[in-house]
């Protein structure tokens, strides 16, 4: 505990973390400030003149491309670097696996060094697609070079992966690496706690609950503007895992899968009532907490886990034919949202229905594409098996893509 509180001291940890970051944090801050001010400008909160002034005052020398070019650069670099394996194998194929591993390792180190020295330091690329591809492939090569395929203990692979992706999360401020870090952490827990697997749900809930609280403490002390996306993503994942750790479906199915639990007719998992309780109460607790503390994060996560709770119930119990349940559920959702939209016409305890700041993901053209894929009217009517107007297969549905 003493060590933890020592680590949480601003003057100790943050200079250390800042040194770990490959980017120039002052420039990153200017860049992100500008990005944030831009959302205000787009939302009409800031006038054109003011926006020009802000731009002049926050000149960042970091370079990033627009989103689709970032994707193109990522895909091309990723493809180009990973196919380097071809010539490598051609050169040293006859020398055996060790030679291949050494070559791949060297190639990986070269890629990482190039990404850092040239792309990030000299060319000032900031998450340009090239940088991501460079360190993903570079670290994968290094990982393979170090580990090979010969180790029997799977846990070692996961722990090494955990180390690599946590480096990526901080050093390159990479969000995908953050997700991977959480996944690796859960996997390591699974594999290392095999002897007390029955308590794993509680371990997960307590661990991620604790990490969530620590994250709240840290974000008050860091430069929140720079790490905002990381904290939002991590908090979301932590809250989600606290729920999933106690979710009845997850616990039951994993108990059967992992511990070989066999359930006969009328039997239930140990402490079933507890997990039923978690499944119902956690979403409600999130929602109430979110409304009381005006936390949009809790409200969003509560909506997500409420959906999961509904699926959990539907999986084990059926009250009506699925098509009727779907229709009724849809009707209820429409009613709830319309009633709330009417109710929040005026501000109620600070909650309003109107948009204040436009999300950076808000794009009517792309929402339209999503709508045409998830709503009805697009089936080819050619056989008797076709179901006219069957509508979305519940594929996407991220209508306004928040988060």
């Amino acid at each position: 505990m003493a060590a933890l509180s020592y680590l949480l001291k601003t003057e100790v940890t943050f200079p250390m973390i800042n040194k770990l970051v490959a980017y120039d944090l002052l420039e990153v801050k200017k860049k992100l400030s500008l990005a944030k001010a831009k959302t205000w400008y787009k939302a009409g909160l800031v006038e054109e003149e003011q926006w020009k002034g802000i731009q002049a005052d926050y000149p960042s020398d970091l370079y990033s491309p627009t989103i689709f070019m970032r994707i193109l650069l990522f895909v091309a670099t990723f493809f180009g670097l990973s196919t380097v394996l071809g010539p490598i194998l051609l050169l040293v194929a006859d020398e055996g696996i060790v030679a291949i591993r050494i070559m791949v390792f060297i190639a990986g180190v070269v890629m990482i060094a190039f990404t850092e020295r040239v792309m990030i330091k000299d060319k000032r690329h900031f998450k340009s697609g090239i940088t991501e591809a460079g360190y993903y492939i570079g670290f994968s090569f290094v990982y393979f070079g170090l580990m090979g395929f010969g180790i029997d203990e799977i846990l070692i692979y996961w722990m090494m992966a955990l180390l690599f992706v946590s480096i990526g999360t901080i050093r390159y401020m990479d969000l995908l690496s953050l997700v991977a870090t959480v996944v690796c952490l859960v996997a390591v827990l699974f594999l290392s706690l095999t002897s007390i697997l029955a308590f794993l749900p509680f371990v997960i809930m307590i661990l991620f609950g604790g990490l969530f609280i620590i994250s709240q403490k840290i974000q008050k002390k860091t430069d929140y503007l720079v790490w905002e996306d990381h904290f939002i993503l991590f908090d979301t994942l932590a809250l989600l895992l606290v729920y999933l750790g106690g979710n009845y479906f997850v616990v039951r199915e994993l108990s059967i899968e992992m511990m070989g639990l066999e359930l006969g007719e009328g039997q239930d998992i140990p402490m079933a009532f507890l997990f039923y309780g978690f499944t119902f109460l956690i979403p409600l607790a999130y929602l109430i907490w979110g409304i009381r503390n005006r936390s949009i994060l809790f409200i969003r996560v509560s909506l997500l886990v409420l959906t999961l709770t509904v699926f959990t119930i539907k999986y084990y119990y059926s009250f009506a034919p699925p098509e009727v349940s779907i229709t009724v559920a849809g009707g209820i959702l429409i009613l709830i949202s319309l009633v709330l939209l009417k109710y929040l016409k005026k501000s109620r305890k600070g909650f309003i229905r109107d948009q204040i700041i436009q999300s950076k993901w808000d794009n009517p053209d792309l929402v339209a594409v999503v709508a045409s894929q998830t709503l009805g009217g697009h089936q080819i009517d050619q056989s008797e098996s076709s179901q006219i107007g069957k509508g979305g297969e519940f594929g996407g549905g991220g209508a306004s893509g928040d988060f």
């Binding site: 070019m69 670099t77 949009i296 109107d354 709508a371 089936q379 107007g389």
Partner: protein, 317 residues
């Protein structure tokens, strides 16, 4: 909690009033539920209309048809009344209705009209008679609503339905579930329909008829052309011809998209063009060893070319 708005206010980039608004947002005194409520409404519409679609087909004998048809009609009338109450007159330019759920109610009513139509059709056993026309009628209705009330969602749904009417599926969701019809004719049809969309979108935009719909037409058009052409390249007897045409076409479109800064279309064109070009290279029988070097060299070469012009696609603007 960040202090950007405070900093900007102190540096006199923001007025007192602007600072107050932003401060209220960041101090959580005001919380906007705009996206959350609209997302819930959208999911509701998706489930409700999807569920009705199933009911029409599966439980036709169990539930009171007249009751359901009556309910659907009632909802359509109520929704339609709301739409005509709030809507503005038609104009060739962009018309925005400043009402928070107008666009979603429009989508809902359009889908309900189609559900009702399908229901009536199944109930009176006109399926044989009307089956071919369902998608066409849906597409027509969607397009009518899209232009009258200026809605891109309904426009996209209309284009997808029209594609279904000529026998194409525009939906990755359907491809994933394996209902993609195959065969050279389908690929050619896909290309023709795509070209039609491309041309229609361009002409309408030039005549200033809903010029902001151009993206939707071009997006679907290009996707149909590229998917059709790539499938044709891998699956037909005239693959070299197809690949050459595809390289030329994607180079032209890519060049145009680059100049117009339509980078999504540039992305499509680059990837399809690269695949076609690679196909040509390997049909020329370059040999295995050279082939291994082709991929890294060509891809990294492409990246270097792009990065030389990086200021053209910077995100600062």
């Amino acid at each position: 909690m960040d202090d950007l708005h405070k900093d900007l206010f102190e540096k006199e980039h923001l007025t007192e009033e602007q600072f107050q608004i932003l401060d209220a947002v960041y101090q959580r005194k005001v919380i906007s539920l705009y996206y959350e409520l609209r997302l819930v409404l959208y999911l509701g519409i998706m489930l409700f209309t999807g569920g009705i679609g199933y009911i029409v087909y599966q439980n036709l004998s169990d539930i009171g048809h007249i009751a359901i048809m009556f309910l659907l009609s009632l909802l359509i009338v109520v929704g339609g009344y709301y739409i005509f109450l709030k809507s503005k007159p038609y104009s060739h330019t962009e018309v925005t209705v400043e009402h928070i759920y107008f666009d979603y109610v429009l989508v809902l009513v359009s889908l309900l009209i189609i559900s009702l139509f399908t229901y009536v059709q199944v109930y009176f056993d006109w399926v044989e008679l009307l089956l071919k026309w369902t998608s066409l009628l849906s597409g027509g209705l969607f397009l009518l609503m899209a232009y009258r009330f200026d809605n891109k969602m309904v426009l996209s749904m209309g284009i997808t339905a029209l594609a279904a009417a000529v026998g194409l599926t525009l939906s990755p969701v359907d491809w994933a579930t394996g209902s993609l019809a195959e065969g050279v004719n389908v690929f050619l049809l896909s290309i023709c329909f795509g070209v039609t969309l491309l041309v229609v979108g361009q002409l309408l935009a030039q005549d200033n008829v809903k010029a902001h719909f151009k993206f939707t037409y071009h997006n679907f058009g290009l996707l149909l052309i590229y998917f059709g052409a790539l499938a044709l390249m891998f699956d037909s007897n005239f693959e070299i011809l197809t690949a050459s045409l595809l390289v030329t076409f994607s180079a032209l479109i890519g060049w145009y998209a680059w100049r117009q800064k339509e980078f999504l279309f540039f992305l499509y064109s680059s990837i399809s063009g690269y695949m076609a070009f690679t196909y040509l290279v390997f049909s020329a029988d370059v040999g295995d060893e050279l082939g291994l070097f082709y991929f890294p060299l060509s891809a990294i070469g492409g990246v270097i070319l792009l990065v030389k012009n990086r200021s053209h696609f910077s995100d600062d603007k």
